[in-house]
């Protein structure tokens, strides 16, 4: 009897599985579409090249989703455009952000790795107090200190300096990277997994802690180095509010690209006709970051997963 039933049961199981796979595909495709629509719309708006009947260009948000004509006018306008009395503002903002991102990336990654190594592999008196203090400090809303950092930087002339407005870039780098060392938890979690026996045996061979860090830990820590570098490099491109407060409304030529793009839509300089140029700017900013994420996906996922467990 059981022999008779068996093939039938298998068949129905296989059919059930096919149906459930089919549903899964449908749900995933639908979700992917929902997730991509806003991005698609920004890209379409960036390439939109529509004119009104009287020949004026339509730069606003339109009620239709798909543009009627495509063109590169928005990109051309963006790169040659004068915004807030700054000629060629957009390339300047890109350059500012690139400089800030590169320096911040180097400093932040170094600080994070050094703290994480100490917390994970070295034992000293103030270790636990330091960890507790860094956690408590991290609980204060960043906006509280943001304004104080502005006053602080202003008092030493690193922002809003009438003689040297370019110093505000240094100020922003300091503001971004100074607190980085306190975000050591993910890297520490990674170092914790490196067996202590490895460190101990190196010590027996007469290695100093410095050499252990350079020769043993760092080569093993490639994934977490890449993760930290990716995070701190993309940070300045993603953030707009910190940059907005620290650099301040004056001297638009030293803004970062996100502050510049944001002010096209909001604030005293906002203009509804700049929407398509805003979209073009977004595409330009997003391309390098998305490419980086795609290439370093493996390391990013590794870091994120480590963060899940360590909190």
């Amino acid at each position: 009897m059981s022999n008779l039933l068996r093939p039938k049961k298998f068949k129905s199981q296989a059919r059930n599985r096919r149906i459930s796979l089919g549903i899964t595909y449908a749900v995933l495709v639908l979700m992917s579409i929902i997730w991509l629509i806003p991005l698609l719309w920004i890209i379409l708006s960036a390439f939109r090249c529509d004119y009104q009947a009287d020949g004026t260009f339509i730069g606003t948000v339109t009620s239709y989703f798909f543009p009627h004509h495509f063109g590169l006018k928005n990109f051309a306008d963006l790169f040659s455009g004068t915004y807030y009395a700054v000629p060629n503002a957009f390339p300047r903002w890109m350059l500012n952000t690139l400089i800030i991102a590169v320096i911040d990336c180097v400093i932040s990654t170094f600080l994070v790795l050094s703290v994480a190594y100490c917390m994970s592999k070295l034992r000293f008196k103030l270790r636990k107090p330091f960890m507790n203090a860094s956690m408590i400090i991290g609980l204060f809303p960043g906006f509280m200190s943001m304004i104080a950092i502005y006053f602080l930087l202003k008092s030493i002339g690193l922002t809003g300096n009438p003689d040297h407005p370019e110093y505000s870039i240094i100020g922003l780098i300091l503001a971004y990277s100074a607190g980085a060392g306190l975000g050591f938890q993910i890297a520490k979690g990674f170092f914790d997994v490196i067996p202590n026996a490895l460190v101990e045996s190196a010590k027996l061979d007469g290695c100093t802690n410095f050499k252990i860090f350079i020769r043993i830990i760092l080569p093993l820590a490639k994934p977490i180095i890449i993760y930290q570098a990716l995070m701190s490099f993309t940070g300045p491109w993603m953030d707009f509010i910190f940059a907005k407060v620290i650099i301040g409304p004056a001297n638009p030529e030293y803004w970062t690209v996100s502050v510049g793009l944001y002010s096209m839509l909001f604030g005293t300089y906002a203009d509804v006709n700049l929407f398509t140029q805003f979209a073009a700017g977004c595409v330009i900013v997003a391309i390098p970051i998305v490419t980086l994420f795609m290439f370093l996906q493996k390391y990013y996922v590794e870091g994120v997963t480590a963060g899940a467990v360590k909190g």
Binding site: L122, I137, F143, A148, L182, I289, A308, G311
Partner: protein
């Protein structure tokens, strides 16, 4: 009972520690060499005595520098450091600048923000002075002890070497400590102190925006009494904003969490092809800066955006729907629901990535055993998968709850806190953090903003400390390696 005893023992241990520390200081002075005794007055004297010239010179230089800093009071923008900064801290001797008819010249006004800031820096310098004092005596005393047992005092070269070995943590942590002190701790203390002042640009006329005074806990009382320039606002809007912040944090955390787990299960389903493509799509939405994607969504849902015109063309509505509360007349409930839904768009891919790895690591024999026992797929999900994932990701759940309480971008970029309330800063969807932003950056009411910030800190700190200190991850941090 046992807990009480432990606390008692802790307290006794604390006093014992202080007593021990004190007697150590006395012993060090009594038993130390002439150099060590001298070190109590002149830094590095003991090091010179032990012929550690470079080390002694460094200590001495630091002492001279700090004393000069305290006495000479270098000033920036007319506000002094040093002992004058300490005298300035009570904010009593402020001068209101302006045209002086007696001399016919313009005088500068005092800058109270800098007075407080520099006062704190000076206190920190004094603190550092005492640490150096202790270290200088300690280093000389250690050389004494070395000599006693027949060892030579360490040379400068050996000291530097130690900084790369036994004392490597000092080398590694110093940059972070300095940076964190200057750019995180000092600003936080400064902002907390503003909660006890009258620093509120709404109250001051334009000529002297930097003049203010201490006013005790009056700003905290305003939450109940409604006095002061923004007291009206903080009294009437504090509880609604706080309540919404909690509702938001709960919904935002759990929708993204369970949505992410479900998405991860779907993507990792056995036999599904194109896993990588689907995953890449969702990672892409993480990689796009939020100010881009959220502003795109805001415009999609906007009054003149494509969605509203689509709905109108379909005849489902006769006038644009205010999804995101951009006008005061828009529905507050709808805006709240919309931000929670759109936040799922932001948060789900992140949880998906995180739980994917964990799902793959669930021991397969758990499922095997369950299958043998005849468990259904749903049952296995609720009895194995979910408990396992929740167990592992509890720390993340806590930190994402706290993160959502402080979730600035989503609200600020989507609704800007709207729909606005007539006569108030805080709109219908404002969280404590976005309200804090509006009150400080837009209004310049730094004292009220600091009060809101302190409340936010108290809430997040309580949640974190209570849950985190009980968690395994914290208690067994040292053992698991």
């Amino acid at each position: 009972m046992a807990k009480k005893d432990k606390r008692k023992a802790d307290r006794a241990g604390f006093f014992q520690k202080i007593r021990n520390g004190f007697s150590y200081f006395v012993k060090r002075f009594r038993d130390g060499s002439v150099g060590t005794k001298l070190s109590h007055l002149i830094f590095g004297a003991g090091n010179f005595y032990h012929k550690q010239y470079i080390k002694g010179a460094i200590f001495l230089l630091l002492q001279v520098a700090i004393i000069l800093f305290m006495v000479l009071c270098p000033s920036i923008n007319g506000t002094p450091y040093g002992y004058k900064a300490l005298l300035n801290l009570p904010l009593k001797n402020v001068t209101k600048g302006g045209f002086d008819p007696a001399t016919g010249a313009m005088t500068a006004s005092s800058n109270c923000q800098l007075m407080i800031l520099f006062g704190f820096v000076t206190i920190a310098v004094i603190f550092i002075y005492f640490i150096l004092w202790h270290k200088s005596i300690e280093s000389s005393y250690k050389a004494d002890m070395d000599k006693k047992i027949g060892l030579k005092p360490t040379t400068f070269k050996e000291d530097v070497k130690a900084l790369f070995d036994q004392k490597f943590h000092i080398t590694m942590l110093t940059p972070t400590c300095i940076a964190a002190l200057v750019f995180t701790v000092l600003p936080t203390i400064f902002m907390i102190s503003l909660a006890f002042t009258t620093y509120n640009q709404q109250d001051m006329n334009e000529a002297n925006t930097n003049l203010f005074a201490w006013n005790g806990i009056q700003n905290f009382r305003a939450v109940f009494t409604g006095e002061g320039s923004l007291g009206f606002e903080i009294k009437n809007r504090f509880l609604p904003v706080l309540g919404w912040t909690f509702i938001w944090a709960i919904f935002a955390t759990f929708t993204c969490y369970f949505g992410g787990i479900i998405l991860a299960l779907l993507i990792n389903k056995k036999g599904l092809k194109g896993k990588k493509i689907f995953r890449t799509v969702f990672i892409m939405t993480i990689a796009i800066p939020q100010f881009i994607s959220l502003l795109a969504v805001r415009n999609l849902f906007g009054e003149y955006g494509p969605l509203n015109s689509l709905l109108m063309n379909l005849g489902w509505t006769s006038q644009p729907i205010g999804f995101l509360g951009q006008k005061p007349t828009d529905s507050e409930l709808l805006a709240k629901i919309m931000v929670i839904i759109i936040n799922m768009w932001v948060g789900i891919p992140y949880t998906m990535l995180m739980t994917s790895g964990i799902l793959m690591n669930i021991p397969a024999d758990l499922y095997e055993a369950a299958r043998v026992d005849g468990a259904s797929t749903t049952k296995m999900f609720f009895k194995i998968t979910l408990p396992y994932v929740i167990f592992i990701t509890t720390p993340y759940l806590i930190s994402s709850f706290v993160g959502n309480i402080n979730s600035f971008n989503t609200i600020f970029l989507l609704t800007g806190g709207g729909p606005a309330y007539q006569g108030y800063q805080a709109g219908g969807t404002d969280l404590l953090v976005t309200w804090l932003y509006k009150v400080t950056i837009d209004q310049g009411s730094y004292n009220t903003g600091a009060v809101i910030g302190i409340f936010t800190f108290v809430i997040t700190a309580t949640i974190t400390l209570v849950t985190y200190r009980r968690s395994k991850a914290y208690n067994e941090e040292d053992t698991f390696q």
